[in-house]
Symmetry: C2
DNA sequence: GATATTTATATCGTTCACGATGCAAATATA
DNA sequence: TATATTTGCATCGTGAACGATATAAATATC
């Protein structure tokens, strides 16, 4: 048995599992508001800056527009946001929050801390988080360089 | 703008993005063999120990059987494995590799190192990997405690 | 031994991800 | 100003994830 094949040695598997489990931790906090985790990410982006074209949201989340477009359509149908054609560039779709979408920011204000607390443990603490962030950011930057 | 909402502060988003990007890095190495990343994970498990019930594979990958069952069915259809009813317990489905599934182990022997190299960067090195692994394992253990 | 409960897997419906493709608007080039 | 290329978004098909539910076999309880 080649050691390199052992699941215990795989970085990707750990990231994959940790990502799924934290997303599951968000679920009970979001589902009551009819939200999924990727939809919550879209709200985070729009709460920072409202009225963005689809492409800017996609780049921020490092997702393709073919993932985001149907997601935004569902959120529009749910009354959380509006999509209207850009005035200066008719190819763009400008996505903006409805009052309902804005209101969710207050209602979900406890979410980051709740999830944060559920993740802290022996080796992951406020003191060690910056190094973990640096590792993940470096991996993300390394892999998203497309040239 | 509440600081806690900033996407830059979110651990889950980093894990989610890093996981997706590494999975994408596997893609060109696996797609030629007709494999997806989750299917590769199943092979890793079966290469370690052949002829396991569905439940053992699911637990190892921390996935539900309703995710794994259709995945295994697709792999069976692709000729990579067999599913047969357990002899001692007729509820179980024992999953075992076909010769083709076993042969892939040699053909994919370069994959772990290739992906590993594509991830190493300034802050993620052979020296810092153990600490990163420890962080991720702690998060995974914390969140998968179901009691 | 009959009934209830648990366990192992499967099926169904919805929502991502993402490669491939299509299309119209904007821009570049001839 | 025609034509070509690029850009922004949408559509389609496939394969995960996962909550909810179903079903049959094994086990526990009466």
């Amino acid at each position: 048995m080649k050691e390199q094949f052992r699941l215990n040695n795989q970085l990707c598997f750990r990231l994959y599992t940790a990502s799924r489990l934290i997303t599951q931790a968000y679920h009970p906090l979001l589902s009551g508001h009819g939200l999924t985790y990727p939809q919550y990410l879209v709200l985070l982006v729009l709460w920072e800056q409202d009225a963005q074209p689809v492409n800017d949201i996609a780049k921020r989340l490092k997702l393709e527009t073919n993932t985001i477009t149907p997601l935004l359509q569902r959120m529009e149908k749910a009354g959380l946001l509006l999509r209207r054609k850009g005035e200066t560039d008719a190819r763009q779709m400008i996505v903006s929050l409805t009052p309902q979408g804005k209101k969710l920011q207050k209602q979900l204000s406890g979410v980051p801390e709740t999830v944060g607390r559920s993740v802290l443990c022996e080796s992951v603490t406020p003191a060690t988080l910056p190094e973990l962030y640096r590792n993940l950011d470096d991996i993300i930057n390394k892999l998203s360089n497309k040239e």
